[in-house]
Symmetry: C2
Subunit: 373 residues, 2 copies
């Protein structure tokens, strides 16, 4: 194999596939990037057996076709440092055992790994799919990913439900204390789909997506896999097996108190209150909802914070406590200037939702002693 790359195009492709390189594995080949040069161009692939990514390197010159595997982090570091000039030409030549990488005045020689050991990406049938703009998928992930569960005592909580019904995509994540729902209108009607995509996969794909509204991403769904195809990249991930939680019964639309509040002011005040929380001393944030103003109170071992913010209220007064982190997570991803909270009583969940039904955040309250506030 003998190739010439532009340093920056090669580095961009490496950075994309690097997200599927295994860090902890007993199979050294999974720590490698596969480089394949053929008729269609040069492709890099990484695959940690949960997630696989293949991408095409732009502007390659192929003097001799071939296939090699090379330790991914080492290769990435060499290409990053071999030249500081983005336009430099990097040449790569393999003798089947040692790969020689030359750029400017530097020559690296590195042991190759056996490319035939490299696992193929699973092939996905293409009956079930949807098309979205890259920006939309990126936003859907950002708006829901925070409420997956970080530990996998319940595997399904570490992923997100992607449910397609006609021309609607509903994405749900939950961790036992809260539920995040994002509804998105699709451009056309598709076959129905209901799958659970691992949170790690969604995190990685959202880092690679360009966030461009004019560029699309296609999601293909099979029984065990989801494939994302966008730009010159293909990403294949295993799905999480099982029946997702039934959440519809929890989503009552009744409420007894509705609060409309300036989002930034609410967010800043909650952030301020968390100064007084230490790991060992998890205190709730108390919302004291009265006509036209809401008191926010944090009383901890360290000290107290009291803030008052203006609100518009419908319904009865209410004093209710929340884990401030859960409120912050939801408020941080809402782009609106004002948010609406729907509440019933101190034991019932709070709903933060918009009028169009695009997002719903359900947060369970926590117990507190009202006499100490």
């Amino acid at each position: 194999m003998k190739l010439n790359f532009k340093r920056n195009d090669l580095l961009n492709a490496i950075n994309i596939v690097l997200k599927a390189v295994s860090t902890k594995t007993t199979m050294p080949i999974l720590e490698c990037i596969l480089i394949e040069a053929g008729k269609k161009g040069v492709y890099l692939t990484a695959n940690d057996m949960e997630l696989g990514i293949e991408t095409k390197v732009e502007n390659c010159e192929i003097m001799e076709e071939g296939k090699i595997a090379i330790e991914a982090r080492l290769f990435s570091e060499i290409i990053r440092k071999i030249s500081l000039d983005e336009e430099s030409i990097v040449s790569l030549e393999s003798d089947g055992n040692i790969v020689t990488i030359v750029c400017d005045n530097s020559t690296f020689r590195i042991q190759e790994k056996d490319p035939d050991q490299f696992p193929d990406l699973p092939s996905i049938d293409q009956d079930h799919y949807i098309t979205l703009s890259q920006l939309t998928l990126k936003e859907i992930i950002r708006d829901t990913i925070f409420s997956i569960s970080p530990n996998d005592s319940n595997k399904m909580m570490t992923g997100e439900l992607f449910e397609v019904k006609g021309d609607l995509l509903k994405v749900v994540s939950l961790d036992g204390h809260r539920i995040s729902i994002r509804n998105t209108a699709l451009r056309e009607t598709y076959n129905d789909v209901k799958v659970i995509i691992p949170g790690k996969t969604l995190n990685e794909v959202s880092k690679i997506l360009s966030g461009d509204n004019d560029k699309d991403v296609v999601l293909f769904f099979s029984r065990n896999y989801v494939m994302f195809r966008f730009d010159e990249t293909v990403m294949v991930s295993r799905l999480i097996d099982g029946e997702y939680f039934k959440i519809d019964s929890m989503l009552s639309s009744d409420y007894e108190t509705k609060v409309v509040v300036n989002k930034k002011e609410f967010l800043d005040s909650i952030e301020r209150s968390t100064i007084l929380i230490r790991e060992s001393d998890k205190k709730p944030l108390i919302m004291d909802i009265r006509d036209s103003s809401m008191g926010l109170k944090m009383h901890s071992m360290i000290g107290t914070m009291d803030a008052d913010i203006l609100i518009r209220k419908q319904g009865k007064d209410l004093m209710i406590g929340f884990n401030p982190k859960f409120l912050l997570d939801a408020l941080r991803v809402i782009d609106d200037e004002e948010v609406s909270l729907y509440l019933t009583n101190p034991k019932a969940p709070c709903f933060i939702k918009d009028d169009d039904g695009k997002f719903i955040y359900l947060i369970l309250p926590v117990n507190f002693n009202p006499d100490s506030y």
Copy 2:
């Protein structure tokens, strides 16, 4: 005590004294900032018993004088988050037990600590001193601090020698493998001084110094302490006790090979070679000095790198090995476009120095087997 601050002026002062707040201590008072409001204004002080810092807060309104101590990191976080508007007014009122901090719509109430337990800064007699621009002191520290020893098996190696003779300041640091020397001409002649200042102190003072060439810093030296006075800040540090190493005998000016090389090209090539070094496998960088070019070679378990850079050479050819980190540390702080290396043989130190004698970096070579290169 009752005070009004501009949020940003208070935060600036807190950030300065925070560097002398103790993080690991059995005395809780050392985790506090002392706030003193008197005739001369409002001063903040922190003191971890090795290093003490006192600074004046600008633009304070004093409604009632007084003195309080408050947990430093908590206070810093509250002031940082209490308002995002730099111009906001923060009011602070103490009842001798609880301090109330109010800004915009938020009120914090925090337990105070007993200010009388707070240790006084040591007083320094002012016979021995020098005056430098803040920029110069910052540069002197940057140019030498990397070659102090990080572990204190030899306490003196964790500090730097500051030696004043007439109108010359010589600063030396060494760690057993290398020596860094920076000579600075002073504006006038001062009393002779020879002290060892802890590296930690120099690191902290260099973070606070403005790097402004028009602003001065005065260093006062007593038997056990050094005091830095600049802007509205005073910083007092304990000195390291003992007689510093005699280094003059090591600084031979003889050499058999002189190499002049482009600094950036040399630095970039060495950085590139370090890709091939893993913690467990410390390999030297080999410099193969020939007429008009120098080969740089790194052969490790991971692979090899070879680079060739143009040089101007006087004297004989030489092949010599170094820990690449030591070369990098010195080259990174040299501002010149070209550097001169003075060498004798593969067992003798390399000197990197300029023609004016402003800096000297001595680096010991390492053993290697010439047959494998």
